[in-house]
Amino acid sequence: MTVVKVMMKEALQTVSDLWSLMVGLNVTKRYFLEPQITVRYPWKEVHNLATFKGHLELVSSKTPGKGKCISCGMCAMACPSNCLTVVKRKAPKPTPEEEQALAEAKAKGEKPKDKTPKDPEKFLYDYTLCSLCGTCMENCPVGALDFTGSAYLAGYTREDFHFDLVQVLKNQAGLEGVDETAAPGAGQSEG
């Protein structure tokens, strides 16, 4: 009896196997009839770039043209390929009154309040070295960095990929001192 059972099982298995072939063909047919996903790129613009990770950019704060960056340098330290350089702003030269106030405060034993602006003077970014690993973003204490959605970045020389992200941010906000050459990627980013 067991032989019959085994044979029955084999036969049933075969039938179900054949049926699975039909199911597979059906899946193929369904996909064949569904619309395409691929965008014919040079002729049509790509719109679904929400998940695209382009080069880095500074996240804008509430005041336009200013980033959230506090020039702590954590990103540059964390960067495995050393593509970031944060140039801190120099402390402004104190006016005579301020200097006096400072001296007074010192005399009182108070710690002087640092008046140096936190935002970076320059945020140099070498896209040719960047591996888009995102370590800088993870290490940023204030969340000042993000990937752009720009898929259309192109340039003729290596220097085209050396950005000053502060300048990029300013260009985006349309502020004065717009420097076209400094930021080829600016203004095109989407998403």
């Binding site: 597979g24 047919k29 996909y31 064949f32 395409q36 691929t38 014919r40």
Partner: protein, 326 residues
Amino acid sequence: MNAIPAELLHIVIGLVAVAASVGLIGLVMVWVERKVAGHIQRRPGPFEVGPSGVLQPLCDALKLVGKQLFMPLGADPILFWLAPVLAFLPVLLLFLPLPVGDGLQALDVNLGLLLILAFSGLAVLSVLLAGWASNNKYGLLGAARGVAQSVAYEIPLLLSVLSVSFVAGSLNLATVVEGQGTWPWNWNIMTQPLAFLIYFVSAFGETNRAPFDLPEAESELTAGFHTEYSGMGFGLFFLAEYANMVVVCAVATALFLGGWHGPVLPGPVWFVLKVSSLMLLMVFARWTFPRVRFDQLLNINWKWLLPLAVANLLLTAFFVKLAQFA
């Protein structure tokens, strides 16, 4: 000496027509395959050259013709170039006995089916010579696989074809078609469904199409027996593969799907329609099923197709005899 005999003239014209149509079919099939594959994977396929990329295969063909012909060191020069020619020439002969329409047949021979079976066997030789002569291990492996496969799959193919010709009582394809009716329930597929299934599966094996494309399995043998071929050498193998596909589909149409029979439309249109839908099915199968392992391939043949084909043939013979007595 009198004029050239009419029969010979008929064959020559048929050959020329066949050669032209084989080239055309090859080009169209390349385009269809790439387009269908693209759509199945929800991408456009070729679309740059010509409307929807129809001229793409033509450009590819031009590229192939223009390419330098390479021969590997230590290869057998005569056999190396003989192989692609041997792959292509018999295929032209295979088209001759195909009945496209009522009376539309290049060569109306009594043994048309036998001719097709005999000359499709020559394809094995080309695979074998190509693999051996190119002095390449992948080539040789592909050739060994190809030969083992085609020799094995020829048997159930032959048996399933035989069971149809038992019913029709003829080896002439046109006669077999005439024995069938206009509507699908008058076709041989209704009386011989198992034979059709066996024939179609074996046809995959015979034409080296995926999922049975082990002689040219890219992932393990680079390109199998035609690894070393460049330019038109490769092009001829390619053309022969598609032409072979057309032949097996046309034979299946004539034997099982009523050939040129069909309502309303004229015969040749029905024939072409049926052949192209079968070919579309083959393309679909290629992009649906994963390639089988070689032992699985041979197991399918020897353990399933062959016994089933023999049983089918015996049953058919029994019923044919019974019908004669009745």
